[in-house]
Every structure is written in structure tokens, then in C-alpha cells.
């Protein structure tokens, strides 16, 4: 064949499918997350489920049948689903107005409040539950719902708010000029434009509530269990591994179905749109409606988020010996000389170190997956990376222990397990938060950049990266917060000489005495400060370094 024809054909093919280099980059972007999820999620989980359902090598599906025939197990599954759905709806209802206020209105102290609303997200459930009880909320379904709103408020505010901050107000104004009332504009234009963000936030919130553990145990009272608490009960009390495995499978299947539905629902829903710099979009509260919204939402945040946290702060500052930092000092002394002892600064250091590493892993792997998913126009990778949110920490923890036990992957007792486990939990955020943004990048921007002589790699750096960087940053901040607060999976893999702050909190709570309790409060307040500082620093850095698009 004429070599020129060949070359020409190659050039045409390149133009259509991208260069060999860009194909290789896509392949790597698919391979890395796949390998990660296979080794650190699929393999451990499959091992533990296999052990449960085929203890002697022969598959026994009887436990699965039990989940659906035993009325009490059926009740657990049903309760898990509807409480999660209800919690999600309630969270959206309360937090969406909050997201608007924090995204669109300019008022003194806003960036501080934006940082503070993230705190609940990382708080140890046991202390939050204690604060709710101290505030007179009785153990009940209502308490579960309130606590779920408490924990997930930040998800909606941050995820939806980030989009809201940049939404072009002209669209809404155009609708108003066409005769749409405020409510109608909200329904037909704003919510529609926010839909990718709302769906992402709702998905995350639902998954969190679906696999809720501490909130159900501590605030639901003993009569209420979710699949997650039931797995815990069956694994650690009844030692009924087959039933636990069956429940895990049900949980996993439910999550897969949910993610599949979300994917279907969202197919093609994410439209490239003009985004605007936040400072062009936000404004001072000028109408009466704005002022009422601002006041109401600040009141909601104060009552729902600040009050329980304030209880913890006050408790940490009021030892019986008198107001002050006694409990904080005690944190450095209680159990000194014991193997249980960990100096507060060390715990802070451990937490930060693990969180940084987990964040890096989650952002790199999750970011690659999101990018690959957008490039190949498929969503399965996104879905696969969201799965860890839907699996019980107990299942995952045991899976790690029995699966990662042979060289070259003998990670038992390794420090790496902590950030790996945390990254698994944080990664879904990175993917769910980044993919919609990447998808929304107007393809014409890339064409424009290509026409200006940029190579495909250059296009990625010049156009995709700055925009993706902002989304990755938001996602990274979340990943960081999640890692700081993660408890369920960490407890299985943490080493006693390098515990994180939440682990320290639980250790302290294991003993009676004012000091034990107070020091736990102090440790959790330090955790609060850490999160608030990290979020503030993140917002600052982002504003300074990445600018606005």
C-alpha cells in the first residue's frame, strides 16, 4: 500500500480518536482506578463475602433467602431504605436554602460559616448523639433524621453551593422577564440547572444514611436497626458470618441499583453551561425575601448544627474543678505511661498525616476515574468507585484483614491500610463531585484551544485542568474531612501506636470518670478546630491560587 495513503489514514484516525498518546493516557486513567478498586475493594469484599456464603467451598444461598423470608430481617432492609430516603429528602429541604444563602448572599462572616458547617461532617457519632440527648432530643426516629441532617448538611451546602455560586443569574432573570414568579423560576430554571449537583449531593447523602451506623445505634434506640447495624450485630455478637455476608450482599446490590438508576436518570442531563465568577453572581441581601431567607437559614444552622457542637465545646471547657482548659491539659496526661496513651499532638499529627495521604490517593485515583469516565462517555467507572460508600465498614475491615494477607500484598499491620481505607471512603466524593464539572466543560472551549494550536495534552492542561482543579479542590477538601473523621473502617486497621483523633475519642470514652469523658470532649473539639482550619485554609488557598473561572 502507498505509505502516503497510510499516513493520511492514520492522521484522519488520530483526528477522530485522539493521538496514540491521548489514548494511552485514557487507558492509564481507566487502568489505575480499576486496579485500585479491584485490589482494595473488590478483592477484600469478595473474599469476606465468599467466606460467608461458601464457608466450605460450596455455595450456600440459604442466608440470602433468610434475609428476605425472616420478617425481622425484611423489616431491617425496609427500614434502612425508607429512613435513608426520608433523611435525604429532609436534608435537601433544609440544606438547599442554606446552600443558596452561603453561595449567593454576601454577608459578614460568610466564609467562616461556610467552613464551620463542614465540622459536623467529621464529628464522632457517639459524641454528637450524646449532645443531641443532652439537648433533650429523645431517642426516636426523629432523632435519627435530625442527626442525619446534621451530618449531611455540609454535603448539600458544599456540593450544590459550589455550582450555585457560579450559575449565570441571567437565566433566572430571563425566566422572570418571561413571566415566571420566584417560585416558578426556582422550580423551572434554578433547580433544573442545579440538578447535577443536587443529584450528586442526594446520592452521597442517601448512601451515608443508607449505611448509617452510629446514629442508628445511639439515637435510634435498640429497636431500630439498619442493614449496617445488623451486619455489626451478626458479625460481632452472633458470629453469624453467613447472614452478615448475605446482608452485605443485599446492601451492595441495593447500592448498585441506586447508582445505576442515578446514572440512567442523569444520562445527558448534564448540559454544558456558561458559568460565572462567584463575585459577579453573589450580592448583599437586598430584598426582604433575601433577608428573611438569610435570617431563617442562619437560625436553622445555629439550632441544628451549632447547638449540638456548642454542647460539646461547653462540656470540654467546664470540668467540675472550674471553667477552663483542664480537660485539654488532661488530654496530655490521662493514661500517661500506658500503651493506650497518645499525646494529643501526636494524635493530631497522625490524623493530619493519614488524611493528607488518603486525600492524595482519593484525588489522584478518583480524579483519573472521573476524567476517564467523561472521556469515554461511560459511567460505570464512576459507579464502581462509588460502591465503597455502600458497603459496611465491618465488612470492608474484615475483608482487608483476610484478603490482604499474602505477599506482595501483605498489608496487615501496615500503616498504609489506614489511608487506603480512608481513601476508599473518600473517593466516591471525588468522582461524584468532579465528573459533573468535567462533563459540563463546554466542548467548544476545547475546540477553541485546539484551533489555537494546542496539542491534546496542552488542551488538557490549559482548559480542563484549571476548571477540573477547582472541582478537585472541593472534592479534596471533602476527602480530607472524611479522612479526618473516619472511624468505622479505621478502627479495624489503625495501629495502636498511631491512632487518629476519633480513635482517641473512643478510647477515652471507654472508661468512667469526668476526666475520661472531658478529655474525649477536648479531643473532639480539637478535631473540630482542625476541620474548620483546614476548610478555611482550603477556601483561602483556592481563592488565591486558582482564582475564578
Amino acid at each position: 500500500m502507498d505509505p502516503r495513503v497510510d499516513r493520511h489514514r492514520a492522521a484522519v484516525t488520530r483526528a477522530r480518536t485522539g493521538t496514540r498518546g491521548s489514548r494511552a493516557a485514557t487507558a492509564v486513567a481507566i487502568a489505575v482506578p480499576c486496579a485500585f478498586i479491584a485490589v482494595f475493594f473488590a478483592y477484600p469484599v469478595a473474599s469476606i463475602l465468599g467466606r460467608g456464603l461458601a464457608p466450605d467451598g460450596a455455595l450456600d444461598l440459604d442466608p440470602l433467602r433468610r434475609v428476605f423470608t425472616d420478617p425481622s430481617q425484611r423489616g431491617v432492609v425496609w427500614f434502612t431504605v425508607w429512613q435513608a430516603a426520608l433523611s435525604t429528602v429532609l436534608t435537601l429541604a433544609l440544606a438547599l436554602p442554606g446552600a443558596y444563602v452561603l453561595a449567593r448572599l454576601r454577608f459578614p462572616g460568610r466564609s467562616l460559616i461556610r467552613a464551620l458547617v463542614t465540622i459536623p461532617f467529621v464529628m464522632p457519632t457517639v459524641l454528637v448523639a450524646s449532645a443531641f440527648l443532652a439537648l433533650g432530643v429523645p431517642r426516636s426516629l426523629g432523632a435519627i433524621l435530625l442527626a442525619h441532617v446534621f451530618f449531611n448538611y455540609a454535603v448539600v451546602v458544599r456540593v450544590v453551593g459550589e455550582l450555585w455560586r457560579h450559575l449565570d443569574p441571567h437565566e433566572e432573570e430571563a425566566a422572570r422577564m418571561l413571566g415566571a414568579s420566584r417560585m416558578r423560576v426556582l422550580r423551572e430554571v434554578t433547580l433544573r440547572a442545579l440538578r447535577p449537583g443536587i443529584v450528586a449531593a442526594a446520592t452521597i447523602t442517601f448512601l451515608f444514611c443508607f449505611t448509617s451506623f452510629g446514629v442508628i445505634l445511639f439515637l435510634g434506640g435498640p429497636t431500630r436497626s439498619t442493614i449496617e447495624t445488623e451486619i455489626y450485630r451478626q458479625t460481632t455478637r452472633f458470629l453469624d458470618l453467613p447472614l452478615a455476608a448475605a446482608l452485605s450482599i443485599v446492601q451492595l446490590v441495593a447500592v448498585v441499583v441506586l447508582l445505576w438508576l442515578v446514572g440512567r436518570f442523569e444520562r445527558g442531563a448534564s448540559v454544558p453551561r456558561r458559568l460565572r465568577a462567584a463575585r459577579e453572581v453573589e450580592h448583599r441581601p437586598r430584598s426582604a425575601a433575601d433577608r428573611v431567607l438569610l435570617a431563617t437559614n442562619l437560625a436553622v444552622m445555629a439550632a441544628l448544627l451549632a447547638l449540638p457542637l456548642a454542647v460539646l465545646v461547653v462540656r470540654s471547657l467546664t470540668p467540675p474543678s472550674g471553667f477552663g482548659f483542664g480537660y485539654y491539659r488532661a488530654l496530655g496526661e490521662v493514661r500517661a505511661g500506658s500503651t493506650l496513651f497518645v499525646a494529643p499532638l501526636d494524635a493530631v499529627g497522625n490524623s493530619l498525616r493519614f488524611a493528607v495521604v488518603a486525600t492524595v490517593i482519593a484525588v489522584v485515583v478518583g480524579g483519573l476515574a472521573a476524567w476517564a469516565g467523561v472521556r469515554t462517555k461511560s459511567r460505570w467507572l464512576e459507579g464502581a468507585l462509588a460502591l465503597p460508600l455502600g458497603i459496611s465498614a465491618v465488612t470492608l475491615g474484615f475483608g482487608f484483614l483476610i484478603a490482604l494477607d499474602e505477599p506482595p500484598l501483605d498489608l496487615r499491620g501496615s500503616q498504609w491500610l489506614v489511608p487506603l481505607a480512608q481513601a476508599l471512603v473518600a473517593m466516591p466524593f471525588v468522582v461524584l463531585l468532579t465528573a459533573p464539572v468535567l462533563r459540563a466543560i463546554d466542548p467548544r472551549m476545547r475546540d477553541a484551544a485546539t484551533m489555537l494550536g494546542a496539542s491534546p495534552a496542552r488542551v488538557r492542561r490549559a482548559v480542563d485542568l484549571p476548571i477540573a482543579a477547582r472541582a478537585l479542590f472541593v472534592a479534596g477538601a471533602f476527602a480530607f474531612a472524611i479522612s479526618l473523621g473516619e472511624f468505622g473502617a479505621t478502627t479495624f486497621v489503625v495501629r495502636p501506636d498511631a491512632p487518629t483523633l476519633p480513635i482517641v475519642v473512643y478510647r477515652l470514652l471507654g472508661q468512667p470518670g469526668d476526666v475520661s469523658f472531658g478529655a474525649a470532649m477536648a479531643a473532639s473539639c480539637i478535631l473540630m478546630l482542625l476541620v474548620a482550619a483546614a476548610m478555611l485554609a482550603g477556601d483561602r488557598m483556592r481563592a488565591g491560587r486558582l482564582g475564578e473561572f
Binding site: R139, V334, L340, V364, L401
Partner: protein, 353 residues
């Protein structure tokens, strides 16, 4: 030529640097064969100098792995029996013992120190596990509440159904809590296979509160927990009064809480050498060490349980505030193993539905 993704590589390298940094001595497998791994639960603790003395004397470094609560420790040991996580397991108690023994995760070893341990604590005739300590799950009461309300402290379990103690007791759910289960076992022992159900029905009628865990019971519900709880009676431990003194602020000498000594169920904690260990000699040294006087004396203030070896001196705070029960309820691990699940289900049916 395409550029290497410098940024990600740098980040990963940086990340490995920070993770690797603190691991130093412990994380990397020590090349010396003299490292023994102790798998245990979250509340295991030992004084650092006691542990250091052991290492100095024997040359054996102890690597501690804590994998969740007691139930999780046993479960993970069963799950990993083909390739155990460590050499010695500490923390299986009599409520889980039969399951662990049935699964055959331990190898037989009789420590010479066992001679000093009362026969009542030696629950495995085949010496696959070694009793190291015991704790008594008892009802604690808030001294101040009873003084203020001029109510007599209940003496026996049957007193708790009296109107005077209506709404006074908080217990833990046996399906999620270790002391919760122990207390149910105590009532079964006291009222018998046929009578305990009725007793619990009476407790329910007397407004008993059930919560999921010890932390919730003690700190959120118990009036003696110091956090605004309302109930003066809680299922906790015989050692809790001592702990309340040790962790008091400001320091006190007399505990604000007391123990109903006729309500106690004894939990014995065992250590065992995991089958498949490659450091049998060192593992045996560690078990011996756990029965040594030095370790036994360290047990009360580290884990707030009682030393298994008879005659071990107790710290003053224990002798003054927290005597172990003289006639605790006890039950054979085999019976617990056989009946536990059924009892929990039955209990759930009576109390929670």
C-alpha cells in the same frame, strides 16, 4: 515524547514519605525473629515500662494489633485462622470462648503461672487458653441520688422490680454490648431457664431503659456519669467506682458511685497462642509474662479488671472502692455458647418488641 505526570508522581512520593516516616521501628517487620505479635481488642492496655522490662529481659519485642471490640477480635481470629494476624490473642472472654475453641484457633499451652490462678477461672480443661484477668459486670449506683432521695440501695436483682426503683435502671442491649449480655446471663443464672423471662417483663413494666452501648448507658443515662443523666442505676463494672476516682476532676478519694455486689456476672478474659504461629517460644514467653506478677499488678489500673493470679496486690483505689464480687454469677462457656443466640432473641422479643 509525552511528559511524565510529574505532579502526581511527586505527590505520591511525598505521600509515601509521610506515611513511612513515623513507622520506623514498629511498622517494618523486624528482621529479628524475636518479635511477637499480640492481637487484642481496643481496651487492651499495659504500662509502657512494664512492657519495656519484658523486652529488656527476654529480647522479645511485642507488636500490638488492636482490631476492634472483643467480638471483632474473636471473629477476625476465626476468619484468619489459616493465616493468623499474630502469635498471641488476648481478649477472648467466657461469653465467646466456646466459639473460639470450637473453631480450633488456639494451640495448647499450659503456663507455669497458671498454678497461681484459681481453678474457677480455668475454664478450658485442655489448656488452650490462659485466664489473664477477670471483670465483674455489676449494677452501679449513684450514691448521691440514693442519699438525696432517701431511697435504699437495692441489694439483689429481684429488688429491681420494686416500685421504688421504677425508671431507675438503664441496661445495655445484649445484642450489641458485652456488659449487656453479661447482665442478661446473670439474670438467667438467678431466675433460671424458666423464670428469667418473667423477671425481664417485670423490669420492662418497671420502666427499664435499654441503650446500645456502655458509653450511652453510663454517660448519657446514668446520673452518676456526671453528664446530666437521670437514672441512678446502670449496668457497668465492679471496677467502675475505682475508675471514677482515678479519672475524677478535681481529685477525690471516695467514689461517688457504688456497686450492687449481688448483681455481678464474672467475665474472664483469656490469652491464647494462635495456631500457625512461627514464634512459638516467644509466644509462650508472652503468655507467661501476662501471668507474671509485674503484668498482673499492672492490670487493674490499665484495664480496670482484676488480676487472675490469686494474691496479686490490688492498688489502694481498688481496695477502697472496688472490691470484686464475692459470689458472682458464673456460667460455663459451653452453655453460653449453645444458648447465647437463643437467649438474645428471646430477650429481644420480651424487652424490645
Amino acid at each position: 515524547m509525552r511528559r511524565l505526570p510529574v505532579l502526581p508522581i511527586t505527590l505520591v512520593a511525598f505521600a509515601s514519605a509521610i506515611v513511612a516516616a513515623p513507622s520506623g521501628a514498629g511498622a517494618q517487620a523486624n528482621p529479628k525473629p524475636q518479635t511477637v505479635t499480640l492481637v487484642t481488642h481496643d481496651s487492651f492496655a499495659v504500662s509502657e515500662d512494664v512492657l519495656a522490662a519484658f523486652t529488656k529481659r527476654t529480647g522479645i519485642t511485642v507488636k500490638i494489633l488492636q482490631v476492634g471490640d472483643a467480638g471483632q477480635v474473636v471473629n477476625q481470629a476465626i476468619l484468619t485462622k489459616d493465616n493468623p494476624l499474630g502469635d498471641v490473642l488476648f481478649g477472648v472472654d467466657n461469653t465467646f470462648l466456646s466459639r473460639a475453641l470450637d473453631e480450633g484457633i488456639f494451640e495448647q499451652y499450659r503456663s507455669t503461672g497458671l498454678d497461681g490462678v484459681p481453678a474457677a477461672l480455668q475454664l478450658d480443661p485442655k489448656d488452650r487458653v490462659t485466664p489473664v484477668d477477670y471483670g465483674d459486670v455489676c449494677i452501679n449506683y449513684d450514691k448521691e441520688w440514693f442519699a438525696d432521695h432517701k431511697v435504699k440501695v437495692p441489694r439483689a436483682l429481684k429488688d429491681l422490680t420494686k416500685p421504688a426503683y421504677k425508671g431507675a435502671l438503664v441496661v445495655e442491649d445484649p445484642s450489641t454490648s458485652s456488659p449487656g449480655l453479661a447482665f442478661v446471663l446473670a439474670t438467667i443464672q438467678e431466675f433460671g431457664q424458666k423464670g428469667w423471662q418473667q423477671y425481664w417483663q417485670q423490669l420492662v413494666d418497671n420502666d427499664v431503659q435499654v441503650v446500645d452501648g456502655w458509653e450511652q448507658a453510663y454517660y448519657d443515662s446514668f446520673s452518676g456519669g456526671g453528664q446530666g443523666g437521670k437514672r441512678p442505676l446502670v449496668v457497668s463494672y465492679a471496677s467502675s467506682p475505682a475508675a471514677a476516682v482515678v479519672f475524677a476532676d478535681p481529685p477525690i478519694t471516695t467514689s461517688p458511685i457504688g456497686t450492687m455486689t449481688q448483681s455481678c456476672f464474672r467475665q474472664v478474659e483469656f490469652a491464647g497462642i494462635l495456631k500457625g504461629t512461627e514464634h512459638r517460644a516467644a509466644a509462650r514467653e508472652l503468655v507467661d509474662f501476662m501471668l507474671s506478677e509485674q503484668f498482673q499488678r499492672d492490670v487493674p489500673l490499665q484495664m480496670f479488671v482484676y488480676p487472675a493470679v490469686e494474691g496479686t496486690a490490688l492498688p489502694k483505689v481498688f481496695t477502697q472502692n472496688a472490691d470484686a464480687a464475692e459470689q458472682p454469677y458464673e456460667m460455663t462457656p459451653t452453655r453460653i455458647g449453645e444458648e447465647r443466640d437463643g437467649w438474645i432473641r428471646e430477650w429481644t422479643g420480651i424487652v424490645l418488641r
